[in-house]
């Protein structure tokens, strides 16, 4: 099975519409969180995605991934608090939701990974070149002349 948008059309192919996350199954996606600097991120992960701890390592998510991501390993790493490493596995993720629809424990692995990625970005130390420029702009040093 492959994503239609990633595949050349050939005779004999069958098209299956993935089970869209409609109102019923969107209960899977009711998680809400604020990105934070100081709190315990693993605790936040556990509170936001309590199902993530229920992973039974069936590999369904990894098998379903059309981008070849080791999805299950990502969930495992996130559960261990290794958010940056977990998130890095999902660089190629296009959020097709196939892993989420394939999980028997109702984990939403690609959203767990996105939480990990966003939290990592939010918690990186300020970039010196960006911080310097923001300060210079704030001081009004950089005006535009026509």
């Amino acid at each position: 099975m492959a994503l239609a948008c990633q595949s050349k059309i050939e005779a004999g192919m069958q098209v299956i519409f993935p089970q869209y996350l409609d109102e019923q199954s969107s209960a899977l996606l009711n998680h809400r969180y604020q990105l934070t600097l100081s709190s315990d991120h693993q605790q936040q992960l556990n509170a936001t995605f309590p199902e993530a701890a229920d992973c039974r390592h069936c590999h369904g998510c990894t098998i379903s991934c059309p981008k070849g991501i080791d999805v299950e390993q990502g969930v495992t790493l996130a559960n261990e608090g290794k958010l940056a490493t977990a998130g890095d596995l999902f660089i190629n993720c296009v959020m097709c939701d196939l892993c989420t629809t394939s999980c028997p424990e109702n984990i939403a692995p690609n959203y767990v990974a996105l939480f990990a990625r966003r939290t990592t970005a939010f918690n990186q130390p300020p970039a010196p070149n960006l911080a310097n420029r923001l300060q210079a702009l704030q001081r009004g040093e950089l005006k535009i002349k026509y």
């Binding site: 990633q6 050349k8 996606l29 998680h31 809400r32 969180y33 990105l35 998130g87 660089i91 190629n92 993720c93 296009v94 959020m95 959203y111 996105l114 990625r117 966003r118 939290t119 990592t120 970005a121 939010f122 990186q124 130390p125 970039a127 010196p128 070149n129 960006l130 310097n132 420029r133 923001l134 702009l137 950089l142 005006k143 535009i144 002349k145 026509y146």
Partner: protein, 529 residues
Amino acid sequence: MSNGTPLEQAQQAYRATLKRPLRSFATDHQALLQSFHPDYAESSRVALKVGVNRGEPCHPQLAALLQTDSPSNEQMLATANQIETDVLVIGSGGAGCSAALIAADNGADVLIATKLRAGDSNTIMAEGGIQASIEANDTPQAHFDETLKAGHHCSDKQLVEQMVLDGPAVIQWLIQQGMQFDRDSQGNLATRRAGGTSADRVLYYRDYTGLEMIRVLREAVRQHNKITTYDYSPAIELLSNKEGHCNGALLYSIERQQYTIVKANAVILASGGLGRMHLNGFPTSNHVGATGDGLVLAYRLGAKLQALDSFQYHPTGLAWPQTLAGTLITEGIRSAGAQLVNSQGERFIDELAPRDVVSAAIMRECSAGRGIRLESGRQGVWLDTPVLEKQQPGMLAQQFPKFIALCNKADINPFQSPLLICPTLHYQNGGVVINKACETTVPGLYSAGEVSGGIHGKNRIMGNALLEIISFGRRAGAAATARHQSPDCQLSLDHLMSFRSELKQNQITSDRQAPLLFPHYATFSRKSV
């Protein structure tokens, strides 16, 4: 005129070498554009006969679309169900998402109506990166000057000034939403150079900058309790009150085949561009929904448009295999050092000249018989990636995963074989006239992103599109929320009366419908009432 070298012959003749003869090329960019850029051909413009831009030049295919009657009628309004919101955002790419987030943060109830699924857009495909002047040896002034120069000094200077000064704050905001950027060993945000510029000013996340941006913004939108998103629900008409102010839109649900009226205090158009109109028969890098819908809606309501005869043909669209023709190969790869090479093994242009100039140079090579010919008759030139791999082993795989995925899909080994490329229709340079607060000439209607005009003049530089959508998207969200409630809440199609009478006066008839919503090969048809 020669037909160029057949593909197989050119593949055999290709040698990966660091020493390329540089064919002497015209340094007169203007002459090159005049002779070879599609925008400069006489056949690429007609005068509009109808609407507020009457008499002004417009691409003939776009003119036909803008001068097509609306299929909307009072009966649709009468039978549609009606909902209400503070701010209606049309489109869910980078501009639509950022507008919605700011409006919602400012307390507005926001409805996003999008034609496909949330985030399906050109933004998600953006590869090169986002411009922001943050390096010590760079200034916002240089960013301003080079944006104007690449655009042939046709931009609205006030808009460009605001955008370049917004740049660093835009990046900061994106990081706060959880977007990752590549960094160097000191923790600085990494930068690369765009064609037509003098400083490293493009920030990026691999060659997935747009994907990373949409993943993050879409998730922020999804979680916001003040934002509702309607998928598969294109706007097919804007609505107006007695004074002609915009106060809502008519949506069509593709899934349910139903019409919905949305009454809104402000409407933000963030519907993107029109690559899927395949102007001049070109392939396109754009997503399937880029059919110029926003221009049609705005124009029928009486909003002024500009530069409707100016489009960007990106130099490096994949030319072969045919099934992927038009797919973008990021300018980042030329920025990293990849060369353009003709069938004679020669370089023929500064690869980091402005995009319009590089595209014109490619078309010159093809028309002079130095291109590489496909069986279809189409021609291209080589993008020499094997040499790049020789110079910087491992860099392509590390920095350009999206490019490598494309090569896998195309069954090309970019470390051994060059890629055949030719210009691809990429971007609409003009669009809806806006001011610094994203107000159009119609009160109540705001516009942000590619559908708007005035920022890029007649040619855009890499990374300014992603900057524009967030800079102006955020401003549109703030301005739309601050708009005072209009006392007149009648929702009507009255603005269509004058438009239709103008069509009649000019004896313009058409059996098509506008907005297009989908390209013709999608064979989509809407249920009529």
